[in-house]
Symmetry: C2
Subunit: 343 residues, 2 copies
């Protein structure tokens, strides 16, 4: 994930792509069916809405959440059309949160493309997010028993985001509060993706619980990695606006761990640096100082350690629930992949 | 609704309140149950989210959409707990659109209270809207057969809003395009409120269709009245920010009718006035000029006429579907009330 204060060591795009091709190998057909499904959903829209959705399609990420739906299903049996619908819904929910998030963060680049609000304005971004949520809910009603869970999960995600907004500028945010926020805003959607995939393939309640736990731990580790990259990543390599958390006064794990290790003058100096950054007064020197502190205090190793422990827990939950096989192997690799670098 | 160029003639708050008390008399218990239901929904939230929701509760409007659910139900039989759930959902969807709308319009006052974004910021307003939508969808899954219709309706509402955003500044917007936009952004939620209420009380498909038609026509007339008030109403009496449509370059019915009647120099002068207003360069003199044109060309009478025709159609649909009785009478009064002034 992160390699000391020198910045992130990212695999090349080709290596990344090869790794993903391998990861998704058992679910190639399902991922294609998902893309077709999403494409058909969007093609019927009004021209202006369609233009926005087509712009949005350029951001297509690694679609890890849909992959979780399919791979979790494959651990317990065959996948069918309801898996595709659920995969579409989790991807739509995630996409809608991204559109609103980028607006909230005033981020201008995502996956190397202008974000919706930076090209079409804030109004369009708000409504596009709303349309995507609503489309997701429409599809969710086609899968028996899934709609309520997906709607509740969405509400939790938004509450998690709201708690983060409410705690912006709170430099005393505790580690516990940080984990509560990322649990809601990120982890539970991974958890539900895995649960629904498993349940739809006939997993028992116990197995579904274990898969949900796998997803939650995976999602938590993912968010930790993502937050660390925002501080120490290279914008060119990561492909999205970075440093937004500092500007928005968001205390993420590296900053919390650093704050709790520094004392006296150095702590005071850190707090001033964070306040200045949140007030838009940050520069290269301040950022270099932060990276130096991270190195001196071994912060990135600690963050890495925390993420690895979560992944260990995830793998344990997975092995308890499912016998060995290609789908389980790919979920295991996915879990390791997530903390190795940003997906 | 509107009384010539002198501005709106609004009934006093007491008269308004008395009229509503009478309108809602057959459904007093149901409206109370709705308020309790919404209160319980909100009480369980996180403190910060709860603070925002409590602020939002101050905006509580006339709750016409829930009243439509109950009154439409009462036309065909008893109402029960599913009516309360559906009423809660339509009110939540409406509330969420308001929170996002006020942000889109940069309106600072709604029902005499600061809007959410003006007090808590844009981030909080976006997320609060998202949370309210999601809460609505959660409740909708408890009513068999309603979730999909409500999600599709929400998507249509947002697409309607998006089309309006996309046409901002388009001074050539046709009357037909205007009606398409308000159909989606406003009318269909009234239509669905009436349909669901009727269906849940055992109405036939034909009766449900007629009630939906009633709601759509009522909602269309309501939006026409609302748009006219934005141009000629008195902010103190109406209780929300007015004149936002002009600033946002929204062509509404009075402006479209006026544009299509003026020619030559006067038309050119109107276009310049509208362009200046959309660029933030509007003043009392410009507004007075607009009101004078409205008077000279009898625009408000024409708008009133259009709204009245819609209400006549609504009443016809209602009478075709339902026999006489207190609930039908109240729906009839509600329809007349809507075009008499802003609710």
């Amino acid at each position: 994930m992160i390699a000391g204060s020198g910045g992130a060591v990212e695999d090349s795009p080709i290596e990344k792509s090869l790794a993903l091709t391998r990861l998704y190998q058992p679910i190639v057909e399902q991922m294609k069916a998902l893309r077709d499904h999403l494409h058909d959903e969007f093609a019927s829209s009004e021209p202006f809405v369609n233009e926005l959705l087509e712009h949005l399609a350029k951001f297509r990420g690694k679609q890890i959440r849909p992959a979780c739906v399919f791979l979790a299903g494959k651990c317990f049996g065959e996948t069918h059309s309801d898996h595709i619908r659920c995969a579409a819904v989790v991807e739509l929910i995630h996409t809608a949160t991204l559109v609103h998030d980028d607006l909230l963060d005033q981020a201008d680049i995502r996956r190397r493309v202008d974000t919706v609000h930076s090209r079409y304005g804030d109004r369009a971004a708000i409504l596009l997010g709303d349309i995507i949520y609503a489309r997701g809910f429409v599809i969710s009603t086609e899968v028996e028993g899934a709609a309520r869970q997906l709607a509740e999960c969405t509400r939790e995600i938004c509450i998690g985001e709201m708690l983060q907004v409410g705690s912006a500028g709170d430099l005393d945010l505790s580690e516990e509060q940080y984990f509560q926020i990322i649990h809601r805003k990120t982890a539970i959607l991974y958890g539900l993706s895995c649960r629904l995939g498993a349940t739809l393939s006939g997993a028992s309640d116990e197995q579904a619980d274990a898969l949900e736990r796998f997803g939650i731990l995976l999602g938590t580790a993912f968010q930790i990695a993502d937050d660390a990259l925002d501080l120490v990543g290279d914008q060119e390599q990561v492909g999205k606006s970075l440093g937004t958390d500092l500007v928005n006064g968001k205390m993420t794990l590296p900053l919390i761990l650093l704050r709790d290790r520094l004392d006296g003058e150095r702590r005071e100096s850190l707090m001033q640096l964070l306040e200045a950054a949140a007030a838009g007064q940050s520069d290269h020197a301040a950022h270099a100082k932060l990276l130096k502190w991270f190195e001196q205090e071994g912060i990135l190793e600690r963050v890495q350690q925390r993420a690895s422990e979560l992944i260990d827990g995830a793998l344990e939950a997975l092995r308890d629930a499912s016998g060995p096989g290609p789908a389980r192997e790919r979920l295991e690799e996915l879990a390791r992949f997530v903390v190795r670098r940003e997906l």
